[in-house]
Amino acid sequence: MLSIFFKRLLLAIPVLIVVASITFFLVRLAPGGPFDAEKAVSEQVMKNLNEVYNLNAPLSEQYFDYMSGVLVGDFGPSFRFPGRSVTELIMTGLPVTFELAIYSMLIALFIGVLSGVIAALKRNTFLDYIPMSIAMIGICVPTFLLGPLLVLIFGINLELLPVSGWDQLPGDKILPSITLGFAYAAYIARLSRGGMLEILNQDFIRTARAKGLSETRVITKHAMQGGLIPVVSFLGPAVAGLLAGSFVVETIFQIPGLGRFYVEAAFNRDYTMILGTTIFFSFMIVVFNLLSDMLALWLNPRSRDV
């Protein structure tokens, strides 16, 4: 298992280099530059700015300069925020986005697994239909609708929770975490229901029951271990998705996370910031996919030999 882990980790290096290179040239192909603004700057000023950021050099030279910087962990200065390095900006936004992702994932897992397992156990009853219908709604309702809706109800009408912010007012983390977690809870509910239904029909479950084990023990000890494998495989891409896709929730709730930096960097043509965040997110996606694959292998002994 360890050798698989290291092999996969080594494979990630060329993937990241390709992602970085493609992004580097793609952003340069996009029309408009980091210093274009409604109030046009004079040619002299543009020349000065390009010199300051070495944008006058041939593109190949800039590419090798950049890549050699990345190798030693230097993502360069941000063009949009003079005086701040891309690494600093990522490190500022990451803990917040990470915290948001963890809370959302916990909410998603709690709601998702609980309702999925109950639905599987009480198949074709109201306890199956109701959670699964809510799950379907959760998958269909986008966060940009759910977020403002929750804010309207709990923030403005009931005045129970703050409408925005992160670590500023008590309770301001509740609504964003629920908003972001809800869509994932819906997926997890459907996945765990499917997984559980498959397992519950297996012979070993019947054997366990025949041996006289309590139903709780049959479910928690035997059925869930196999039934939740699809959920575990989904966790890797889900966490990566939560990290990279929190932009909407961050904007709605005014959260100082990484998602906002990422999207705004693209609008601002902040070349180094686009590259830095893209490389970082690619790395995250690779790592979380790897981790969830490892976890699935560990849970499912049959696939270890493959």
Partner: protein, 533 residues
């Protein structure tokens, strides 16, 4: 599960009983400010935007200071000034007790060094032209001279600064209200980098030293910036707020919800789709005031069809501006019949742009387009925004119906739009211009030949000469006559078609006092108060 519900309910109840930040502010004197986007930085010689301006008004101060009610500048770092008879020499007398936030006195040499800094080409400042009216400033910036002592700014002594201008520039005091002309603390800047270091760390909390009514307390990226009262400020007695919290909120809906939940005293903007219902419901917090900005359409005068002034006039005359503000923008905007907004420092242009379809048709016919069908397909370029799209759709319809020409809409991402405008790859493009200082020159100057912001290809030297003449005229009445002539010439040539004058639309909490509407929308925080009626 039972415990979880219990904990959650307890938590929710405990939240609901707390007072909102705005309620608490009556006691704490903490002002909560919705400030648009995350500021690029706090270095007055490098940043360029409006959110940065709001922050710098609190943190630093130039020779003059914005009048909270608009109009004439008030004393800032300079307590008084004199102007020579020829209007070319300004002598500024600095405040006797002017101090930097670390206790150092503010001296005339600080200004000399700061102006040297912004004019140093390798700093890459985007606003050096604010000082181009100073003798040899442009020459120093473009590298024609390298000795800064030849530039027309010098310290007569510690407290007296003398500035010599190339031409009498009647709006020079207005230029000084722009942050690019403000001083920075030399020892602090040099401690964290060189004179031309864009990435110096001197603007970080703990390092930051400036001379405004507030000090930088903390700065959390994308979250908030806190400034606190500066006891060393020369006019500290007048400052009533203890702190200002600036929140970068890029989403107008989020900002509106925050205002409703009592998290903000003032918003930066207001959702346009809520504007009309809120006007009807008489939302007491909604503020709508004329703003020194014009929304207009640029014509590319290098284009085969648009190089004919009759075509440009036909297009401009077939736009029903009243209908656009009443049915499309619907938020108090004012139809524009001149490029310079009326009321810019007492300047009221008398130009007219009729909505006359028959006249427009005959102009188009005179230009050789008998029917609209023979006219080439016209493209309107605009950047992604629901507001711009709606206006473009309305104008497309007006041109198609009134002139019978085919019009296509081209929607581009902001930077693509800017780059297409810059290289002249457009026929008609939507544009907006907000004045940097309160004078008609900030508008008319942009359309002079060779100005980067012209972008229309229109190079009229008669217009250029009128502006040069106006800048050399000291008497305001006489000067405005010349500028009026320029404005008439501009509207007669129509390289741009003004559509409407902007209004500032935002929400202001009723506890806020000392906030007066003014055309530049400059609200100096040192005059703000929070009082519960």
């Amino acid at each position: 599960m039972k415990y979880l519900v219990l904990i959650l309910s307890f938590f929710l109840i405990s939240c609901s009983s707390s007072k909102s930040p705005v309620d608490l502010a009556v006691e704490s004197k903490v002002f909560h400010y919705g400030n648009g986007t995350e500021p690029q930085g706090l270095d007055p010689h490098i940043v360029t935007g409006v959110p940065e301006h709001h922050l710098l008004l609190a943190l630093c101060e130039g020779l003059t200071s914005s009048n909270p009610r608009g109009g004439e500048s008030l004393p800032g770092s300079a307590s008084s000034w004199t102007v020579s008879e020829d209007g070319k020499t300004y002598t500024f007398y600095l405040q006797e007790n002017g101090k930097w936030s670390n206790g150092d006195p503010v001296t005339a040499n600080d200004f000399v060094w700061s102006w040297e800094r912004i004019l140093t080409a390798s700093l890459g400042s985007q606003y050096p032209d604010m000082l181009y009216s100073v003798v040899n400033a442009e020459e120093f910036h473009t590298g024609l001279i390298s000795d800064f002592s030849m530039v027309g700014v010098r310290a007569i002594n510690e407290d007296v600064l003398q500035v010599t201008l190339k031409e009498p520039t009647p709006f020079f005091l207005g230029l000084l209200s722009h942050y690019s002309t403000w001083p920075v603390h030399k020892p602090t800047v040099l401690e964290h980098g060189s004179i031309d270091d864009r990435n110096g760390q001197w603007t970080r909390p703990g390092n930051f030293v400036c001379n405004g009514p507030f000090n930088l307390k903390s700065w959390e990226l994308n979250k908030k910036i806190v400034v606190e009262k500066n006891p060393l400020y020369w006019d500290a007695n007048i400052v009533e707020l203890n702190e200002i919290h600036f929140y970068p909120i890029s989403n107008e809906m989020t900002e509106e919800r925050m205002f409703r939940a009592g998290q903000l005293h003032v918003t930066n903007t207001f959702p346009s789709n809520k504007c009309e219902p809120d006007i009807q419901e008489k939302n007491p917090n909604l503020q709508i005031h004329p703003y020194m900005g014009t929304y207009f359409y640029r014509f590319n005068t290098k284009n085969e069809a648009l190089k004919d002034v009759r075509v440009r006039k036909a297009l401009a005359y077939s736009i029903d501006r009243k209908k656009i503000v009443e049915s499309v923008t619907r938020c108090g905007q004012i139809p524009a019949y001149s490029f310079t907004p009326p009321g810019s420092n007492g300047f009221f242009p008398d130009t007219k742009i009729p909505f006359d379809v028959e006249l427009a048709k005959s102009l188009l016919k005179d230009a050789g387009y008998e029917s609209g069908e023979s006219f080439p397909v016209l493209e309107i370029l605009f950047n992604t925004s629901e507001g711009h799209r709606k206006v473009a759709l309305a104008i497309q319809q007006m041109w198609q119906q009134n002139l019978g020409i085919n019009v296509e809409l081209v929607n581009q991402d902001w930077k693509v739009y800017l780059s297409r405008e810059m290289i002249g790859d457009f026929q008609v493009s939507r544009a907006g211009w907000i004045g940097d200082y309160e004078d008609p020159n900030t508008f008319l100057d942009t359309l002079r030949p060779n100005r980067g912001n012209n972008k229309t290809g229109w190079d009229n030297y008669e217009f250029d000469n009128l502006l040069i003449k106006a800048n050399a005229t000291l008497d305001t009445e006489e000067r405005y006559k010349i500028l009026m002539e320029a404005e008439r010439l501009l509207i007669d040539e129509m390289p741009i078609a003004p559509i409407y004058t902007y209004v500032r639309v935002y929400q202001l909490h009723e506890d806020v006092k000392g906030w007066y509407p003014n055309i530049l929308s400059h609200h100096h925080p040192k005059y703000l108060r929070i009082e519960n009626d």
